[in-house]
Symmetry: C2
Subunit: 395 residues, 2 copies
């Protein structure tokens, strides 16, 4: 299928900065459309992004931070919907590991997202109504190509570093494979070169929970004035368990009761872990779109870099000069060390410049978002070394 789809939620000229609460928004693809893996094309589509720090004169200090499934471009400032601090506030800021006194940080809401970039929640210009399920199914490759178009718009030829965890790490791997000349260094974290069978299974449960909600209305809930909050909350609850570890849940909650001294012999949230999960579900639906959840999980399921390169992952990086630093966490069972090591082995097979660190942590997959001093220490060390190689000034 090849069809031309014209995007753009809010009136704006191609290439023109448009306002978005707390960040930037630009319309891209006016002159040259974005060709999607599914065969469709997007023209005049919005991309929302955020920046921190200053781009140097040579434009050599840009770091692209790629966000995870439920993340967004608000990496290190107040979230416009929740009012909470950014999801990587620990990492990005003056004097922090991604030091905004030294680096220019760019973070882009991914294609298919719901914070200003083209996705099912944005307006389909062909109908004047939200895209819903008419939005084309996108891939990690599509997300990365849209980001590359934004960098063209910002006149940044080469990124100093591309980094991100989980789905963010998938984007990093795709960036280094698709645009090796534009990536000086790549730092994929807690990720994999393909989504595993078990991970596809968990995603499918989440999607089925959303689609089972009658308020989903076959994907057309925005037109109908409903929101599949119940289904989306269940999807979030199931996913959230996979972001933690058995040990983290045990030490954080154990079998402790929630504001009571004995079980109630009922179906209320007797246990703290139940109360915590319900809270995760309820708060999530206020800031996230159910169809976006479908599209982004699908893109992750479809990700298979090995298959894209003829069944040999090493081929994705053969003869390329990007230097890598790869992180995994011992208690991460969603993207375990094994999956990260496969990437290391592929890079070793083509004599790439690669560092690897498995960080001891009991915090599970979410460790990359949390205060893990060893992770930050190694990451900072890698950045210092890469800065020197890139000829960036010392701090």
């Amino acid at each position: 299928m090849t069809s031309s789809i014209t995007g753009g939620a809010r009136p704006a000229r191609a290439g023109t900065e448009g306002p978005v609460p707390g960040g930037h928004r630009v319309i891209l693809g006016g002159e040259r459309p974005l060709k999607l893996d599914c065969g469709a094309e997007l023209t005049d589509f919005p991309v929302a992004y955020q920046t921190y720090g200053e781009l140097n004169e040579d434009k050599t200090n840009a770091i692209l931070v790629c966000h995870a499934l439920t993340g967004d471009q608000f990496v290190a400032d107040t979230h416009p919907v929740t009012g909470k601090s950014g999801w990587w506030d620990l990492m990005v800021g003056p004097g922090k590991t991604l030091d905004t006194n030294r680096y220019f940080i760019v973070s882009v809401n991914i294609l298919g997202g719901c914070m200003g970039t083209a996705g099912p929640v944005e307006t389909n210009p062909a109908t004047g109504e939200p895209w819903g399920l008419d939005f084309p199914v996108i891939t990690i490759g599509d997300m990365v190509r849209a980001q590359a178009m934004l960098l063209d718009h910002l006149s940044i030829d080469e990124l100093f570093v591309v980094t991100g965890g989980s789905l963010g790490g998938m984007q990093v791997l795709q960036w280094a494979a698709s645009f090796p000349d534009r990536v000086f260094a790549a730092v994929p974290i807690a990720t994999a070169a393909h989504h595993s069978s078990q991970n596809i299974a968990f995603h499918e449960v989440g999607r089925q929970a959303i689609m089972a909600d009658p308020d989903w209305c076959g994907g057309a809930y925005l037109k109908k004035g409903t929101r599949p909050h119940r289904g989306l909350a269940v999807a979030r609850m199931a996913a959230h368990i996979t972001y933690l570890s058995e040990r983290a849940l045990q030490s954080k909650f154990g079998r402790r009761l929630q504001d009571r001294t004995a079980v109630t012999y009922g179906f209320e949230a007797d246990f703290q872990v139940e109360s915590y999960l319900r809270h995760q579900g309820i708060t999530f639906v206020d800031r996230f779109d159910a169809n976006s959840y479908l599209y982004i999980t699908r893109a992750m399921d479809y990700f298979d870099l090995e298959a894209e390169y003829g069944g040999v992952l090493a081929n994705a990086y053969r003869g390329k000069k990007t230097r890598f630093c790869i992180f995994s966490f011992t208690s991460d069972w969603l993207f375990p060390t094994d999956e990260n090591l496969k990437i290391v082995h592929a890079l070793n097979a083509v004599a790439a410049n690669v560092s690897f660190a498995e960080i001891e942590s009991d915090k599970g997959h979410d460790a990359f978002l949390l205060d893990e001093p060893e992770f930050h220490r190694v990451f900072r060390g890698f950045l210092d070394g890469a800065s020197e190689h890139r000829g960036l000034p010392r701090p």
Copy 2:
């Protein structure tokens, strides 16, 4: 709360055998009610069960098989709803590990279940309508006491063996703690003395999926003529992932596509693992009741034998003579070896007679239901030894 609740779905006199498709059904608690942990009492309530083999004259060869969350009493014969063979057909039968030529096998639909024993799907005699959420919340202790009342009815004083996996194993542990004089030998399989935080979390996701379905109708769906099929299917899908292992999913399905050569860029079941999970969800709702799922998962969450015995698990078995054989499976991440070893250690602390076997398997939690020759070999060996100690004739 102490109240008197009178049960019994179909007209029958207390203590009288009633017909149930393919099995037995008896009304118990007519003279002496079943006192539940929640404070309520059940009188004249039905218990459905199945037997295989013959009880010997001394009544010393009875083995009680306790079923798991979604199991039932149809251990080794055709299921009256699905038409499929029994869930432990591999284990129970002439010449099999639980040899019906030697042993008298009893299996009871648990309290709260939906195959004939008192539970939310049965009729509340006070209203003439299905119990729904008016059924009292029950515990593993309650389930075991109901089974003990059935054994009284069958005039079986002492069980040769009590066995079962998962929730079945919890019942075994409870049996040996509550009725040590009635249990010659106990074989808990792939279980734990309390439900972990992560397992409570997964159960809560399942319950929320059911309750999120508008057809659940606050639990009163049977009165309203609806069934929360979508929510129950999602609950089953989520749970089913936890019954397998990452390795089992990878080898069984990997990233293989379902009846197609390329992904469809849509939300159909492109991957075999998606198709498999959907099938698990869809078929489950035909044979299981959504409220039963709530009640039984709740009973598992509440299970904490250590807490019941003053914070010291060993106290549950101090000075008792039941001999134990405990099994775990290497790839079971729902009831991992660690949890089973805690039981072994508690038994060792009171110098109980205990064997333990960790079976090498990549089949995950479900391994106890499957063809694992080493598991069957060790189980049979334990039974042969116990038979000799019990003075049962050699085969």
